[in-house]
């Protein structure tokens, strides 16, 4: 079977999963027992006449049977009409897309951090199984998953912003994406919306520096969510690979340990880490809600958290649908890349 038919099959599957996701989200929005779906569309405390309510209900097709409502709902989604957010005072999809780059920048930084730290740590733990280094890595990773991330974020602010400042040491910013002054005196023209990329493309190094410094604490806090998972998967997978016969043959060739690990084991052992990248990203986008709130990071998650406080369910549900779609698409991309890299997958 060729690559093309594999892609076609995966795309069909993608459609089915997205259909399922939209059903779940629709059920959450309209099918919850004891909840009038109309409530989501009205600001609490806003006085409305019974007539006005009835006409709104009709307008939103809430008086139709559920299956028909679902058809209207999906049709609207496809048209780009995801509803109106009171919190953002703009259509939900526009509001989310406007804040997408900030969240992507944060999540990508966290993915890079957790893989850069987690993969070597997992390898070392596997190579030194049950020895001091392994025990240390396991203790650190168990401690890591036990940290409530929002709390860790606040503690990081306390230490690296407040206490370091009190001691006259260099500090790291605790709020936002960029320094206020820099954003005023030397702004960049947004292209991708990713500050690090845009500032480099336009050659504004001061802006880049400020953006990078702002990214350090939130991305570190966020990376901790997936770090333990990366370490654990990498360690288990490396142990599994090191038991394989082809490693024994490689050893019998007289290759030094470093070559065996880097050339023979790593490429086989790293695939489980890569194939879970989509899921990891989903977990990180969930975590981003919390981390963005702690660090006042102007991303989608921060907006969704404000939506919660405003009882703006249209926004919160829209955010869920958006994140789920992202995760499904990223999973597909990862699988396709994997199929290109390793031809055995297609068969």
């Amino acid at each position: 079977m060729g690559l093309l038919s594999y892609v076609a099959r995966r795309l069909a599957l993608l459609g089915l999963v997205l259909l399922g996701v939209s059903m779940v989200v629709f059920f959450v929005l309209r099918g919850m027992p004891g909840v009038d779906p109309l409530a989501a569309y009205i600001a609490p405390g806003l006085p409305m006449s019974a007539d006005a309510l009835a006409s709104l209900r009709r307008q939103l097709h809430l008086d139709e049977p559920l299956p028909l409502q679902y058809v209207y709902y999906v049709a609207n989604l496809l048209k780009g009409d995801w509803g109106y957010s009171r919190t953002a005072a703009q259509p939900v999809l526009d509001a989310l897309l406007a804040r997408l780059p900030a969240t992507v920048e944060l999540a990508v930084a966290a993915v890079l951090l957790s893989t850069a730290l987690g993969i070597p740590a997992g390898i070392v733990a596997a190579l030194r199984k049950d020895r001091a280094a392994d025990v240390a890595v396991r203790v650190v990773s168990i401690t890591g998953i036990s940290f409530p991330v929002f709390w860790l974020g606040i503690i990081l602010q306390l230490v690296f912003f407040y206490y370091m400042g009190q001691l006259g040491l260099p500090t790291l910013p605790s709020r936002g994406r960029i320094g206020d002054t820099i954003a005023l005196i030397d702004p960049i023209t947004p292209m991708t919306g990713l500050y690090l990329v845009d500032s480099l493309l336009t050659g504004k190094l001061a802006f880049f520096g400020s953006a990078l410094r702002h990214l350090v604490l939130p991305s570190f806090a966020l990376s901790l969510i997936s770090l333990a998972a990366v370490v654990r998967i990498m360690r288990a997978s490396m142990l599994e690979v090191l038991r394989q016969d082809y490693i024994l043959l490689a050893r019998s060739k007289g290759l030094p340990t470093r070559t065996i690990v880097m050339r023979h084991a790593l490429r086989n052992a790293i695939t489980p880490v890569l194939t879970t990248a989509g899921t990891t990203l989903g977990i990180l986008l969930g975590g981003a809600v919390v981390v963005e709130t702690v660090f006042s990071w102007p991303g989608m998650g921060n907006l969704a958290a404000q939506g919660i406080l405003n009882n703006d369910s249209i926004l919160v549900v829209g955010f869920t649908l958006f994140v789920a779609t992202m995760m499904v698409v990223v999973n597909l991309v990862v699988d396709l890349l994997y199929a290109v890299v390793d031809p055995r997958v297609r068969y």
């Binding site: 999963v17 399922g20 996701v21 059903m23 779940v24 989200v25 959450v28 929005l29 919850m32 909840v35 989501a40 049950d130 020895r131 025990v135 396991r138 168990i142 401690t143 998953i145 036990s146 940290f147 409530p148 991330v149 929002f150 709390w151 860790l152 606040i154 503690i155 602010q157 306390l158 407040y162 288990a236 989903g282 977990i283 986008l285 969930g286 975590g287 809600v289 919390v290 709130t293 702690v294 969704a304 958290a305 939506g307 919660i308 406080l309 009882n311 703006d312 369910s313 919160v316 549900v317 955010f319 869920t320 994140v323 789920a324 995760m327 499904v328 999973n331």
Partner: protein, 276 residues
Amino acid sequence: MLGQLASIRRSTVATTGAALFVAIFVTGAVAPLVIPASVVRDVAFGARLLPPSARHWFGTDDFGRDLFSLVMLAANLDLRVALSVVLGALLVGTVLGAVAGLVNRLDEPIMRATDVFLSIPSLVLAMAIASVLGRSVQNLAIALVFVSWPIYCRLMRGQVLSEKQKPYVKSLRTLGVGPARMIFLHVVPNTLFPVIARAPADVGLILITMAALSYIGFGPGPYVPEWGSLVAAGQTYIFQAPWLVVFPGVAIFLTSLSLNLVGDWARDVFDPRLRS
């Protein structure tokens, strides 16, 4: 020998974790009986934001309330929610999973639903559900059950399917053991252990998730002590009175750490794939 040493060390660590959890659990169970409810209600503005002292071990909050009492009382709510969520998810998940594994006709629909649920990040889905249901701890718990069952369902189905293949099932069948008796007396007990082995670590995860959701706004408000809300309330005074954030956070951390230590050990013992 080294392996043995490591497994002994691991079980001591697990015992420590279990002891720690039991201590926290007992504290949570006893706290409402020992600590008068007035501690939560009574506001003393004269005693606002006092640092930790012999009188107030964890200091006082912005209402002048004793933080130590609040953190102890919060253990009750947080543990109750985390335990009932995992229990509920375990019940729903294992039943659906067993049905999928045993009834061929229902296998496909149940598993497809599970796949869809697993393709949505659980914290984000829980947010949506809780937001539609309305902000309250009870609705938060319902939302968390709603997003946590699929993993047990998938696990249980796999267990049941592999158990069905084992020779003893066939030989019992030839002995004339009926299907119902077979399922409840033989198959289910054998499949349940690996599924339950996940539970301790999941209680820890739910505890953290719940505290996080509570921190971003699903919390019960200032008059019901809850760890995540306590952290959120303390964040306003973080540079003035850092203890308001530190102590509730340490409580969450220690509870979840104790559960993860037990969970790590349980996974090693019960997960047949990791056994060498």
